[in-house]
Symmetry: C2
Subunit: 180 residues, 2 copies
Amino acid sequence: MNTIPKKRIAIDMDEVMADTLKARLIRYEKDYGVSVSKQEVHGKSMYQAIPEAHRQQVRDVLDELDFFRHLEVMPDAQKVIKELNEHYDIIVATAAMEVPFSFTAKYDWLLEHFPFLDSQKFVFCGNKSVVLADYLIDDNPHQLSHFTGESIMFSSPTNALENGFKRVNNWQEVAELFLT
Amino acid sequence: MNTIPKKRIAIDMDEVMADTLKARLIRYEKDYGVSVSKQEVHGKSMYQAIPEAHRQQVRDVLDELDFFRHLEVMPDAQKVIKELNEHYDIIVATAAMEVPFSFTAKYDWLLEHFPFLDSQKFVFCGNKSVVLADYLIDDNPHQLSHFTGESIMFSSPTNALENGFKRVNNWQEVAELFLT
């Protein structure tokens, strides 16, 4: 019996599966005593929303061995990805080469929160032009523009002003797009 | 001015860029006092060439944090890849998800021995069906059969009996194939 191969969806981690921005803002408040809300990074990077003198330390937090280990899972991500996984070939594609100290934390985080995914389908890369998939769900417009399949932008405050891609605002909208 | 995009070559690390088998055999002799030659793993895996009672420990060596950090570079690999890098889009694709404790060692090894490569083009994956490239140079017949581009088998003692792929025996033959 011939079966039609499942379509493959590549899913980004930071700002898509994991609420990395929330953790960065909490950490910023802890380090500097200043609260920056998600509204304040609307349409810009976190670095643009803080004083220049703080930027290097805010970047350095990403090189801590366990920063990516304790991120909150995005609302509904587990439920929807579990269901997607029954109908699609799911791979996780994360730009880990920008934060090479995070490799193990990212891997362990995936095993903990998405134990139903196949770790042989985890891809730690840099530029996502190397990823072969039918769809990429990502918050980063640069990655979405490099990808060769169909690019779908997952909304994040920082990408709020981008208009070049089909957009989903949350995991419920991903479910509506792929599962209905 | 329009330029023709460079063809992309994905290159495996273990047994292709790095002499992983040599390091494993040296370590085996150190741990068990028994010398196993490369000839003795002709056409089989290392596990098939040693007593069953030793196999788990031989596998566990791969989970040591620094095992992959000190591998010898394959003869001519640096010279040929440096030249390939001028004419092709080179990515490194390694099945690191099988040995997740090795992420940092593999990354540092690449930076040390191949500093001219773009780390944004390093891909730590599992199954290489996710890699988008025109060519894959790999020693592993399973990976070569999953890959969707043109598969090229890099000879290793363990794959000596495989006949299903175009074969290169060393980096000089890679140079002849791609640079002449």
